[in-house]
Symmetry: C2
Subunit: 409 residues, 2 copies
Amino acid sequence: MFAQIITVGDELLIGQVVDTNSAWMGEALNHIGIEVLRIVSVRDRHDEIIQAIDEAMSCADVVLMTGGLGPTKDDITKKALCDFFNTKLVFNEMVFENVKRILAGRIPLNQLNKEQALVPENCEVINNRVGTASVSWFNRNNKVLISMPGVPQEMKVVMTEEILPRLQNRNGSNSVIHKTFLIRNHAESVLAEKLTDWETALPESIKLAYLPKAGIIRLRLTARGDVLLMEELLAKEVSALKEILGNDIIAEDDVSIENLIGDKLRQKKMTLSTAESCTGGSVAARITAIAGCSDYFKGSVVAYSNEVKMSMLDVDAALLDMHGAVSEEVVIAMAKGVAKNLNTDCAVATSGIAGPGGGTPDKPVGTVWIAAVCGDEIKTYKQEFNRGREMNIERAGTNALLLLLTMLE
Amino acid sequence: MFAQIITVGDELLIGQVVDTNSAWMGEALNHIGIEVLRIVSVRDRHDEIIQAIDEAMSCADVVLMTGGLGPTKDDITKKALCDFFNTKLVFNEMVFENVKRILAGRIPLNQLNKEQALVPENCEVINNRVGTASVSWFNRNNKVLISMPGVPQEMKVVMTEEILPRLQNRNGSNSVIHKTFLIRNHAESVLAEKLTDWETALPESIKLAYLPKAGIIRLRLTARGDVLLMEELLAKEVSALKEILGNDIIAEDDVSIENLIGDKLRQKKMTLSTAESCTGGSVAARITAIAGCSDYFKGSVVAYSNEVKMSMLDVDAALLDMHGAVSEEVVIAMAKGVAKNLNTDCAVATSGIAGPGGGTPDKPVGTVWIAAVCGDEIKTYKQEFNRGREMNIERAGTNALLLLLTMLE
């Protein structure tokens, strides 16, 4: 089964917004064995939207569209869909109730909101429980087109809860098995080199994908065909892979480090806190993105200034003078300080130069010291090389979580 | 002059990589008055690349391509270009010298690197001073196609130094002016209704777009044509818009709230801290994403547990018992506590139920209390309605920053 993605909106073409929906949908579709042939972004123009739909429907089995469903004049996707599928907009009670529920008490319902309850007559309307824009599912000649809101959070909820399960049913006959591994301590090219022989010897029915992200590589094996045969084949390749990578495999599942850390802390009945300088709270934000983290996470001190490192984390002024804020000694003191002051079993701390300014010859931009403590045990890690402020911060967060995970193992 | 962008690479279609090149190129082209009609991402397949080129050359004056120029065998863009333009690959001395210069001292030159010096015969070759992949400029029927490397850093250097200046010469005087406003206190539909009369009366040459994101709406006016005339027209519409929206216009520029807050704090020589429960450090992370924030941001206390609210923010246990952690009283105490303990002029605090669990009849999931303090001044805001954990947290962060900005005005 092949898919094409169409994203609609002037903001994408003038570069005001980066299209992140397509990559997310591409990975999600790939995961259920549907291959994306093409991604097309078009302007909010009636004829250009229709042309894109026409091309997509002629070459793909599944067409996913996002955007152009807002209540305002520049949102014209619904009108274009009506013209393409020779239908008209009709009032839909379910959608209207949903719009009222979403807006209830927030803003008075106006004409534009009522118009959001207008949907193409000959499509299946799917509810969007987190937004006011409705989702339309069209069937034609055994092909489907699904129009979804462009707001990423809304699209993701609709895809996860409604669209992917339905598509998986349609695609049922062709079964796909994925096996994902989280790999640490490798650059992509180094990992690829290490796996060359094993990779080239993989059977035709098994495909390999490298999915690197800020210091971690997800390695995904995808097998297509007879389930029993595939599982047998996969089992063989998996044990071979473990032979090669051993302890560098963090997990044999497509989970986040944040979740792995949460599981370990729950098992050990331990609590966690963070002390953050250059990561500025992003490590705590990643940990608290996991529902239920209050079982083990107590809090964090973001000590961006040295004053706060001293007052809230009891870092010795002499230590800061002697070694500077970006040093192994200070980051250890930060971790110990937050564990003590927040009364937690474990803690992780970061201190570095995110850039673009602040670098020195011996401590260039990109230098980040990380420390993890659990009771008397201490581990540290030095991150180097400047990849730009955003990446420096993201990688420091990932390396902090990795160091903590290693300590919990 | 119209353009189309083609990005090549399997990694884009399986969602391994987000296509950020297209947005960057779209914005750059827009600023020199070239409008992007369409962005197409295709796989590393010979026929699919040629089809995309054929479609693009038939409707656009300028076609920009990135990707598929690497040394490995899955990079086939050059071969596809040769077939489309009926030419063959020939050795290019300048490119070879550049490849040798780039690789010098890093890796030994191998056959694959030598092949990077092969370029299509009938194109103008443009040097890529920061990478080994060469840039090809094709002319046909007064249209141009430019093939560039997919590595964003390389593409940006080539575009900035070589491609944009040449395109600007071709395009002459016709240009585009954008004016963007940040709007607060409005749902998209409410804003659209309020602006209906003004919007419908806009001259043909001025287009309007709504770009909502987590509680803020960016309103973008785009004018095309003669520069002087446009600026006159825009000035008229802008003042009319200000009449309607007044103080709900946060900024007349496409900037972030984080930057606006930073500017205000610098002007007033004031310092900032945050106290975060449900936002878990994400407000601090957003503030510290801005380079140079150490001028005004001292730090944060992420008080996820009540224990930490008491020990690090001096929140009175009785207050927590009486009103609960998610209350106006407690969130004010948190803001005051962090301002005192981190010794800052201003502070903002959040406490809420992000969900999915933890809701009660009187405090349902999605309820977030926010407080901002500056000296003796206190402002609070209650966020309601559940949009899912991720969006609840993101909106709470945006509303916290908005409340702080209002206070600084």
